[in-house]
Amino acid sequence: MTEELVITCIVCPMGCRIRVLKKDGEVIAVKGYSCPRGREYAVQEATRPLRVLMTVIPCINGDLPVVSVKTSKPIPRDKLLEVSRYLASVSVEAPVEIGDVIVENILGLGADIVATRPCKRVKN
């Protein structure tokens, strides 16, 4: 079975529309790219798109009600909502520093959830 995917390249602002032809899940042709980085990006997007997830979680006794977090490395795009929903039940106790690991190996994806903003402890 062959399928054609159209990928909008984000490597630079040109936004090339790159066509990736796949047969039985294997990439057999790439068309419409302007540079090697664009080709690489399109193949990655067509086979295993990855994203860094950013969100906020509650910070108990913090100087702000929430602390911002991200995945320590990109995770598969189709797991973004699942991870975000899982994080809806996660909270952390202040103080928090940038880089603190909040959840290790989130859903077994090999990425940690780390804080990206400090949260000072306030008496409550």
């Binding site: 969100t55 795009r77 973004l80």
Partner: protein, 415 residues
């Protein structure tokens, strides 16, 4: 106490200026309106910061804490929750600023003033959006403050008007927080945000982007926005009859652009450039009308990257040091920079020829395979793909500016 510089605004530009001054042994003070330093990047939890300045991809808070941590290390003074009421006295050697803070009213004096108060978001009233005065209408930045600083959801079924980057980024945030985004509506025939954000904030989540559409009317129920009427527009932005459709919503997010915050500058008699909406400055980033007043960041012009705002902060600080050491900047024959064909804005507007200078500019229409031309300098730079939403930057050398005439036209020409 007379500070070397009073810095208005503790965001990317103001903090960078303060760090530079303090590192060189000068004493600045930062006046910040929020209850903490950092400005807008504090609430920008997505990456894309620091690529130019640190060659690293950081989130907004990670980026801005590089500066905040340095401010604390250097022991720079700052006043929080402070509102600048007025500039009460202005002379070559002294600038007195009256501020109100939780400590009361006080006058802060500096040898120079660095104005880095950022931008404000355009509102519903500036785009003439008809309908009742209802709850549930927010600017994208307000929604971002609510969600990503305070953990409060502005709505559960959202329409976004305007395709600026903050609007696109908030579209993704709403989906990740389990709200529904019914669409993003853009009046132009191209999005005003970056391609990356169109792909990663809209396409990834199947959010529709309605180009050449606008919101014609909003309706409210029980005091809260309940419906939006979307219509297609023609090339003159006039609604096309019969193309309307109605969506049910409980929040409308406006991402219709930013404007430099210039009220205080206007009060001082500083000229505002109708193209950049910021002050008219020279290549020290000093306003042409008030000596020793330097402007950086989004108060100067709307920047695509916080990195650029910080670079302008460094630039303004270096200029302030030169001003302090020489009790003013040298007088010179100014070359006026004039935006020519297809050029929306150019900053700075005046060049001295006494120093190298960065020129920041935007084109006024999408261009393919064009070239940026400065005939007065004999410069020609290829522009493979230029959009008004992409800020361009180029360095001009002192020597080439020196040889230029009174006016330097900058234009973008198609091949």
């Amino acid at each position: 106490m007379i500070y070397d510089s009073v810095i208005i605004g503790g965001g990317p530009a103001g903090l960078a200026a303060a760090v530079k001054l303090a590192e060189k042994g000068y004493e600045p003070v930062i006046i910040e309106s929020r209850d903490r330093l950092g400005g807008i990047p504090l609430q920008c939890i997505h990456p894309g910061f620091g690529l130019h300045l640190f060659r690293e991809d950081l989130t907004g808070p990670e980026y801005i804490y590089r500066f905040i941590d340095r401010i604390e290390e250097l022991g720079v003074k700052y006043v929080l929750e402070a509102y600048v009421e007025d500039i009460v006295n202005y002379s070559m050697i002294s600038k007195k600023v009256r501020i109100t803070s939780p400590k009361g009213v006080e006058v802060v004096e500096g040898k120079t003033l660095i104005y880095a108060a950022g931008a404000r978001e355009r509102t519903r009233y500036e785009i003439g959006l008809p309908g009742p005065n209802a709850a549930g209408i927010y600017t994208a930045g307000e929604a971002q403050t609510m969600m990503d600083m305070y953990g409060v959801m502005p709505g559960k079924r959202v329409l976004i008007l305007g395709s600026g980057d903050v609007g696109l980024i908030m579209a993704r945030r709403f989906v990740l927080e389990d709200a529904e985004v019914v669409g993003v509506v853009e009046i132009l025939n191209y999005p005003s945000g970056l391609v990356r954000n169109i792909v990663q904030c809209l396409q990834d989540y199947g959010i529709p982007l309605y180009l050449q559409h606008t919101v014609k009317e909003i309706r409210a129920r029980n005091g809260r926005v309940s419906e939006a009427v979307i219509t297609r527009v023609d090339e003159n932005f006039k609604p096309i009859p019969g193309s309307e459709f109605t969506v049910e919503i409980d929040a409308l997010i406006l991402a219709v652009g930013l404007r430099p915050r210039v009220k205080l500058l206007k009060k001082l008699g500083v000229r505002i450039d109708p193209r950049s909406h910021g002050p008219v400055v020279n290549d020290w980033l000093e306003t042409m009308d008030a000596p020793g007043l330097f402007v950086a960041g989004n108060a100067l012009m709307i920047n695509d990257y916080a990195d650029y705002a910080s670079m302008q902060g460094y630039w303004a600080a270096e200029s302030a040091i030169e001003y302090i050491e020489n009790k003013g900047l040298p007088s010179t024959r100014w070359r006026r920079v004039v935006p020519g064909e297809n050029t929306r804005l150019v900053v700075p507007q005046y060049l001295s020829g006494l120093r190298d200078a960065w020129l920041y500019l935007r084109v006024s229409t999408p261009l393919e395979n064009a070239r940026l031309v400065i005939p007065g300098l004999g410069r020609e730079i290829p522009l493979i793909h230029a959009l008004p939403s992409l800020q361009l930057r180029l360095m001009l050398r002192r020597e080439e500016i020196q040889n230029a005439g009174e006016e330097l036209v900058v234009e973008a020409l198609e091949r």
